[in-house]
Symmetry: C2
Subunit: 319 residues, 2 copies
């Protein structure tokens, strides 16, 4: 981030017609964007919501409340404009790009093989990286993939350790038996891969998935280009977990859009050192929480850019 | 609220292409608006931010970090479009109405007299009521008034009891000595009025203020008309505290936009039985928190109205 731009933005905030610090988190967001965009008054004219989709071999174990064909059906729904992310991205004035990745080739069941080969994982990382281009003001990350909260739990557990049950939740709506089954599946996967290397790339290959690797690729490319990223829920955060466990600063250009109802998400945000903008109990994915959080970012940038200073408005400062 | 409209809206939500309940608070907001507007798909095309302003005799005790002339200066800033609420109301597509009430006649110093006479208080209640008209889809409440967090603390304390210090905070930025002085001022006021009647109207007259009474009037009129209200910070909530202490259901048509950094606000929201939409540490007033919360309401109404159903989108429901 650009320290000069942050200092200029901070100096501006001190002159705006409000008690110092009274916009709190909104002021922090404006400084964050000023730093990454390298300007005193950051913008969000070109924001893009990237929704990656993939299918998961682990779904054979009944770890989701929905059948696997829903991934492709929802991709069609995104294209037709009928999903939550369509309504939210329109409201937040975000361009939507939906990138389904080989939906007819689910990953391998990662309880007995790596989810993806290195080549498959690299291909997905590249798809994510190529979806981010210079000149964008922010990237909103989202995903669709029946079974991917199981992959996310495995990624978080393999990256940050702790009890498997702390990372496993109901996802789209498993009952208690389902959550128990899912917990066993994740434990089996961790055991199967226990002796394999624990590098970020190995973890991503072994217990990730294509849409997950694509999100990681998008985060890395955004970092190269200095573009802020708004993360969505448990799965988008799990996509960066292997990298962040090795290199915590990799999420410095990321905002946590929200804390979802998925029980592991709060813990994962703690591990990532991110304080979510919203806590609305949402648990839909698709980038929906990040899109709602974009509205908060817009509030931050609008007040920062548009408010009058004490001098401009002829308002007395403190007594 | 209209139980049939709520039932219709709930039935619609069950058909939308998302796991049941996965939009959580957004779904609750849509049902809340459906109930008050009496329609399956509520709207927010005609939203109005009402910003009432008044001056406070109690400011002579040095209970604010800013001098009293700032009230009128900020009203001019609202008119010129330079304040935070201007940027936020534009973003949230709200009409702004700024209603300064006799700024050249501050209320009486309520440590030694009622802040307003009954006639003055009624006049202010009427100004608030008249600012709300049939056909509005929502009202956003805000205020400006140097010294009014002292009045708010007194209102909350006289309405709900408890330790005076629990209700007093730094407002626009008092230091520790200032907060101690302010606490003593509130304690003095409560002692002075201790033997007077404790009806909502008496409390509002004695330790309120014109912009505060106007907010109470707007809330009451909105209730008569079935128009949802989005409350802002500590002061807007304190405006309804005397009424809510006597009649808790009076806030049933109100959403708490946010929980501010003012320490008494969280406690006051608890007493009002309201769960805030946002916790961003804001403490600016002017309706700024409520305007940001309006963006969340828009997200709720947009998803509710625009999403496709499972049948429309050809998406399989649960396994």
């Amino acid at each position: 981030p650009d320290a000069c731009a942050i200092a200029a933005a901070r100096a501006r905030q001190a002159q705006l017609t409000k008690p110092p610090g009274s916009l709190a988190r909104l002021e922090e967001i404006a400084l964050f964007f000023a730093g990454w965009q390298g300007v005193e008054r950051p913008m969000l004219e070109r924001g893009r919501a990237l929704i990656f989709a993939g299918n998961h071999g682990v779904a054979v174990h009944g770890v989701s409340a929905f059948p696997p064909e829903v991934t492709a059906q929802m991709v069609a729904n995104f294209a037709a404009g009928g999903a939550a992310i369509n309504a939210l991205a329109t409201l937040a004035d975000l361009e939507i790009r939906v990138l389904p990745i080989e939906l007819d080739r689910p990953t391998a069941d990662f309880t007995r093989a790596p989810a993806t080969t290195e080549a498959e994982c690299l291909a997905a990382l590249s798809i994510g990286a190529e979806a981010v281009e210079p000149g964008l003001h922010a990237i909103i990350l989202g995903e669709m993939g029946i079974g991917n909260s199981t992959a996310a739990a495995a990624l978080a557990a393999r990256s940050f350790g702790g009890a498997v049950s702390d990372w496993v939740g109901p996802g789209t709506g498993l009952d208690r038996d389902g959550v128990e089954r899912k917990t066993q599946v994740v434990a089996d996967a961790l055991a199967f891969h226990a002796d394999a290397p624990h590098s970020p790339f190995d973890t991503l290959c072994r217990v990730g998935g294509r849409e997950i690797a694509a999100m990681a690729g998008a985060v890395l490319r955004a970092r190269q280009l200095g573009i802020p990223v708004i993360l969505d829920g448990f799965i988008s955060c799990a996509a960066v977990a292997p990298l962040a466990a090795a290199t915590p600063a990799i999420v410095d250009h990321c905002l946590a859009g929200h804390c979802s109802a998925e029980p592991g998400h709060g813990l994962l945000l703690e591990k990532l050192g991110l304080e979510p903008l919203l806590r609305l109990g949402m648990r839909l994915g698709e980038g929906s929480g990040a899109a709602v959080a974009t509205l908060i970012v817009r509030a931050a940038l609008a007040t920062h850019a548009q408010m009058a200073t004490f001098a401009e408005a002829g308002v007395s400062s403190r007594a």
